[in-house]
Symmetry: C2
Subunit: 215 residues, 2 copies
DNA sequence: CGCCTTATGTCAACACCATTGACGCAATGT
DNA sequence: ACATTGCGTCAATGGTGTTGACATAAGGCG
């Protein structure tokens, strides 16, 4: 028994980390494992299934050691968001492929249970807790996917995007773009990630909407 | 001269609209146009180039007729978000690949100018206006990418994701997942898009943070 | 022990995909 | 009238996921 789900997922993460997202193909994976590509179908129904397993591994690693019960719900939600975001940011190439998927696997299920629990602790009713958790986690995943996609770009393309905000965007005619002209000095702020700003906005909105703590 | 950039982009949009996102391939496009697939390379450097041309058309269509000056800044931001989200949602395959790009083109520049203008009108200083616009638009784009990617999935996989929330997720042991158990009846809420909930959260947070209107 | 079943990896093949370079043809400008 | 250019075709290359038949090894059991 050479292969196993874990061995394959390990290898997939290593492969994508080293050779980019396009390296994740059944054939290359088989070559890296030293087995026939079709052998993988003994362990995963198809490539989508494999991708979900990889995504769940990322979630599990990111959430390892998370103990939401030891802190206020806002802080716990913030830490959860930062963990997920960091986990995907460290594997940008996988994140770009998998951030938007429902893995239906163990680690994701645990995370969802914890997240909904935090919002119930904030005083939300069951329906509101689910709705707000959904909005919260999708916002985090959306930013993670965006930032990951940006990180996964070839370096020269990424630098061109950054330069756009400090260079090209700053040279537009003032008449056509009065607000860009007024805020010209601040435009480089557009180049970085806005994840933390958005996270604090969402958290403050949830705080304002929460019926009341039940600590 | 049978072909042209416009004819090809038109056909690509029609093709995706009629036969689903997977229909967008050079071969099918060639077949639909009645020409050899390789003829498209006379007009576009590669498929990515073609995709960006299609994306540019989508952005232009989505923002056409937007007049932010005619309404309160919150309503204008909301409409802007809905327009961008709808535009991408109608072309999921294109959105999934292009939502995170900085186009640096005309329509994007206009939108950024308008958005920053709205936050300046809300009373934010230049730096805060840029920071908050960045967080706002990235949240919208992140959700658009997520929803689009979900819609771009093959139908049976999308349905499997939806079923996960109504089926598999509802059958977990209560002891291991107390909050999922408590909110079991509400879990199907996780299956749909959370974009509008998140949008209202962000808008209310911006509203609360705004120093004061300058209408 | 010997047989039968099951698990697991191999192999060849199918049907797609993007992309490229050589080729022919027709129109255009000189 | 001739050369050049633009444009579509053709054939080929090398990549992709997935499938079904085949071989081989491992246990379970009479």
């Amino acid at each position: 028994m050479l292969l196993s789900e874990d061995v394959i997922v390990d290898c997939a993460l290593r492969l994508v980390g080293q050779h980019g997202p396009d390296a994740l193909s059944v054939r290359r994976l088989g070559a890296a494992l030293g087995c026939d590509p079709s052998a993988l179908y003994r362990y995963f129904h198809n490539t989508d299934d494999l991708l979900l397993a990889v995504a769940d591994r990322i979630i599990g690693d990111a959430m390892a050691g998370f103990e939401p019960d030891r802190m206020p719900w806002r802080d716990a939600l913030r830490e959860m968001a930062l963990r997920i975001h960091r986990g995907y940011r460290e594997q940008p190439r996988v994140a770009a492929l998998a951030a938007y998927r429902v893995t239906r696997r163990h680690h994701e299920i645990r995370a969802v249970d914890a997240g909904i629990g935090l919002l119930r602790r904030a005083g939300f009713g069951d329906a509101d807790a689910v709705r707000h958790y959904s909005a919260f986690v999708d916002t985090v995943l959306g930013h993670a996917a965006l930032d990951a996609a940006h990180l996964a770009l070839p370096p020269e393309r990424r630098e061109a995007d950054v330069r756009a905000w400090t260079g090209a965007y700053a040279e537009l005619s003032d008449a056509d773009h009065p607000h860009l002209a007024a805020a010209r000095a601040e435009l480089p702020l557009m180049a970085g990630s806005s994840f933390e700003t958005a996270l604090e906005l969402i958290l403050s909105a949830l705080d304002a909407a929460a019926p009341g703590d039940t600590p």
